[in-house]
C-alpha cells in the first residue's frame, strides 16, 4: 500500500533547504537561509497549493524544482519526480516537457518575439501549430494573439498566454507561480479551471500563491509556509472549519479570509483557538526567528 502511494506521487520534496551567498560589506560573505527543511507531496490528479506571505520562499521552491535557481544559490534535500531523484541532468531533460512552469508575469515572455513563436518555441510543423491554435481557443484567446508582441497583450490575455505555454506540453507536473494576481475573482477562478483540467488529465499541479481564499477554493491540499518553513500541511477543506487546523498561524490566516472574520463576541471568549494574545506575527517572529 505504502509503495503504491509512493508511485502515485509525481513530486516529492523532502527536507529542501535553499540558501544564498551574498557578499557583505568589504570581503565578508553572508549565508542567507531562504528555505529550511521543506516537505511537499503532490499526487496524480491533485492540485496542491503552497501559501505564504511574500518572502516565505514560495517562488524559490518552484525554481528549485525546475532547476533554475540563481547562480549564487545552493540547495540541499531531496526532490523526487515520479519516485526518482530529480538530478540536475534529469531536470534539464524533463523541463519544458514533463515539468512545466507557469511564470508570474508577462516579463517572462521575450518582449521582442511574437507570442505565436514563443508558444511553439519556434517549431513550425503543422501539428504543433494546430495544437497551439486549439489551446489558444480553449483558453478563450483569438488566433490573432499569435501575431502580437507581449507588450500588446492585456493583463488577462498575457496570463492566459502564459498558461497556454504550459498546455502546449503534455506535462505531468505543472508549477504555477502566482498565476492570478491582478485578475478579478471571476477571471481568476476561470484560470484555476484550466489547472483543474490539467489535473483531471492526470497531471500534478503545484499552485504557488499568497491568496489563501483562491487556494482553499481550488486546491485539494494546502501547505502553509512561513519564513521558508512548512507551518502546516492540510486538506483544503480544513480551512472551512478552524477546528481542523492545528497551528495558530494557520488559524489566524484562516480567520483573515473574507467572510471568516470572527465577531467581537467570538474574539472575547477566544481561549481555545491557541492564537496567542500578543498577536500572531509577534508570536511567529519569536518562534521562527524572523
Amino acid at each position: 500500500m505504502e509503495n503504491h502511494r509512493a508511485e502515485e506521487e509525481i513530486l516529492t520534496v523532502k527536507g529542501l533547504s535553499v540558501s544564498f551567498t551574498q557578499y557583505d560589506r568589504g570581503f565578508g560573505r553572508k549565508e542567507i537561509q531562504a528555505v529550511t527543511d521543506l516537505d511537499l507531496r503532490i499526487r496524480i490528479g491533485e492540485i496542491v497549493a503552497v501559501v505564504g506571505a511574500s518572502g516565505s520562499g514560495k517562488s524559490l521552491l518552484a525554481h528549485a524544482v525546475m532547476g533554475i535557481l540563481p547562480y549564487n544559490a545552493s540547495m540541499s534535500g531531496e526532490i523526487l519526480f515520479k519516485g526518482t531523484p530529480l538530478t540536475s541532468g534529469r531536470v534539464r531533460r524533463l523541463r519544458g516537457r514533463e515539468l512545466v512552469l507557469v511564470p508570474q508575469s508577462v516579463t517572462y515572455l521575450d518582449p521582442l518575439m511574437k507570442t505565436g513563436q514563443q508558444l511553439t518555441k519556434g517549431r513550425k510543423n503543422p501539428e504543433i501549430l494546430e495544437k497551439c491554435k486549439n489551446i489558444l481557443s480553449s483558453c478563450g484567446l483569438g488566433l490573432e494573439v499569435m501575431d502580437k508582441y507581449p507588450f500588446q497583450l492585456s493583463g488577462g490575455m498575457a496570463r492566459r498566454v502564459l498558461i497556454s505555454t504550459a498546455a502546449m506540453e503534455d506535462a505531468e507536473l505543472v508549477i504555477a507561480d502566482e498565476p492570478t494576481p491582478g485578475l478579478d475573482k471571476k477571471t481568476a477562478m476561470g484560470v484555476m479551471d484550466h489547472f483543474r483540467q490539467m489535473a483531471d488529465r492526470g497531471a500534478g499541479v503545484l499552485l504557488i500563491t499568497h491568496d489563501l481564499e483562491l487556494a482553499v477554493r481550488s486546491a485539494d491540499r494546502v501547505t502553509v509556509l512561513y519564513g521558508g518553513r512548512t507551518v502546516e500541511e492540510t486538506e483544503a477543506f480544513s480551512f472551512l472549519d478552524e477546528g481542523l487546523l492545528k497551528h495558530p498561524y494557520t488559524k489566524a490566516l484562516c480567520r483573515s479570509m473574507p467572510g471568516k472574520w470572527p465577531s467581537a463576541d467570538a474574539l472575547e471568549n477566544d481561549r481555545e483557538s491557541g492564537i496567542p494574545d500578543e498577536g500572531i506575527l509577534e508570536y511567529m517572529r519569536k518562534e521562527y526567528g524572523r
Partner: protein
C-alpha cells in the same frame, strides 16, 4: 487565402510604420539641423575670439606690413572684418547653404572641393574600421555576456578595459613600430605609394596603406562596443524571459540565438551608429600618426595653418556626419523595435 491574409496584414503594418517613421523622420531631421546649426555657431564664435587675424593670414605678414593704412582699411572693408560677428556668421551660413564654403587658404581651392577629396580618402578608412569594430565588438560582447564571470568574459572585459584606456594615437604608434618598421609588412605612412602616378596606383596599394590606420582605429573602437554589448547581454541572460526559456527546456545555445541576439541587436545597432562620431574623432589622431591625407589630418593642418574657412567647413561636415549617424540610429530603432513601431502606431 494565406497569401491574401498576409498581404492584408503587411499592408496594414506597412501603413502604420510609414506614418510613424515619417513623423519620426521629420522630428529627428529638424533636431539634427538644429544641432548642426548650433555646432557651426559655436565653432564660428570660437574662431572669431581666437587670435587668428584674418588680414594677416590671408595676405601674409610681409605683404600686410608693406601696405599703406588706406589699403589695409580697404581690405578690411572688403572682407568685412569690422562687421559684428552675428552678421559675419549669417553671411557665411547663407553662402554655405548655397554650397559655397569659401576658399581654403592653404590649398587655394574651394573648401568643398578639398573636403570632398580628403573625405573620400578617409571614407575607406572610416567605413572599414567602423564595420570592423562594430562586428568584432558585437561578437566579443555577446560571447562575453553569454555567461558572466567565465574565462571568455574575463578575457574580453580585460582586453576592452585595456584598449579603452589606451589612447588611439599610442596604439597607432605601436602598430607602426611593430608592423611597419620592424616586420615591414605595411608601409609606414601615406595613403598611396610615393613616386607613382595616379594611374598606376592599384586598389591593393590603397588597401595596404589603410590596414594599419584602420586597425588602430578599430582596436580602440571594439572595446566600447564590446563592453556595452556585454553589459546588455548579461542583463538579458539574467532576465525573467531567459529564465523562463530555460525552464521550458530551451538549450543555452538556442537561448543565445533566439532570445539573446534578438534583444541585444537593437541597443547594439544604436551604439554602432552613435559610434560614427567616435571613429571620426579618433581618425584625427590616427591619420596624424600615419601621415594619412584624410579629413582628420586636414583638420589638424587647417587648425595649425589658421585656415579658417577650411576648419569651419570640416567642423560642419563632421558634425553632419556624426549627427546623421545618430539620426540613422533613431530611425532604425523605430523600424526595428516593435514596441516603438506598433506602440506609436496604435
Amino acid at each position: 487565402m494565406g497569401v491574401g491574409r498576409r498581404a492584408h496584414r503587411s499592408g496594414r503594418t506597412g501603413h502604420g510604420t510609414g506614418k510613424t517613421v515619417w513623423g519620426l523622420l521629420a522630428f529627428q531631421t529638424a533636431r539634427m539641423a538644429l544641432l548642426v546649426a548650433l555646432v557651426s555657431i559655436l565653432a564660428f564664435v570660437l574662431l572669431s575670439v581666437s587670435p587668428v587675424d584674418p588680414l594677416q593670414t590671408n595676405v601674409g605678414q610681409a605683404a600686410l606690413g608693406a601696405m599703406s593704412p588706406e589699403q589695409v582699411e580697404r581690405l578690411k572693408g572688403y572682407w568685412g572684418v569690422d562687421l559684428p560677428p552675428a552678421e559675419r556668421y549669417l553671411s557665411w551660413a547663407a553662402d554655405v547653404l548655397r554650397g559655397d564654403m569659401g576658399t581654403s587658404l592653404l590649398y587655394r581651392r574651394p573648401v568643398a572641393e578639398v573636403i570632398w577629396e580628403k573625405l573620400s580618402n578617409s571614407l575607406w578608412l572610416l567605413a572599414s574600421s567602423w564595420l570592423l569594430s562594430g562586428l568584432l565588438g558585437f561578437t566579443l560582447g555577446v560571447l562575453a555576456g553569454r555567461k558572466r564571470g567565465r574565462l571568455c568574459d574575463r578575457l574580453v572585459t580585460g582586453y576592452s578595459l585595456l584598449a579603452a584606456s589606451t589612447p588611439a594615437f599610442w596604439t597607432a604608434m605601436v602598430l607602426l613600430m611593430v608592423f611597419a618598421v620592424y616586420f615591414k609588412w605595411f608601409p609606414i605612412g601615406l595613403s598611396v605609394p610615393i613616386g607613382v602616378t595616379a594611374e598606376e596606383i592599384a586598389l591593393g596599394d590603397r588597401i595596404r596603406h589603410a590596414v594599419l590606420p584602420a586597425a588602430a582605429l578599430s582596436l580602440t573602437g571594439i572595446s566600447s562596443v564590446a563592453l556595452h554589448t556585454r553589459e546588455k547581454m548579461v542583463s538579458i541572460m539574467e532576465s525573467d524571459f531567459v529564465l523562463f526559456a530555460r525552464a521550458r527546456g530551451e538549450s543555452e545555445t538556442s537561448i543565445v540565438l533566439r532570445h539573446g541576439l534578438r534583444n541585444v541587436l537593437i541597443p547594439a545597432m544604436t551604439l554602432q551608429f552613435a559610434s560614427i562620431s567616435e571613429i571620426i574623432g579618433g581618425s584625427v589622431l590616427v591619420e596624424q600618426v600615419f601621415s594619412y591625407p584624410g579629413l582628420g589630418q586636414a583638420a589638424v593642418t587647417a587648425g595649425l595653418g589658421s585656415d579658417v574657412p577650411l576648419l569651419l567647413g570640416i567642423t560642419v561636415v563632421t558634425a553632419v556626419l556624426a549627427a546623421s549617424g545618430n539620426l540613422a540610429a533613431s530611425i532604425l530603432y523605430g523600424i526595428v523595435d516593435p514596441r516603438i513601431r506598433k506602440g506609436a502606431a496604435r
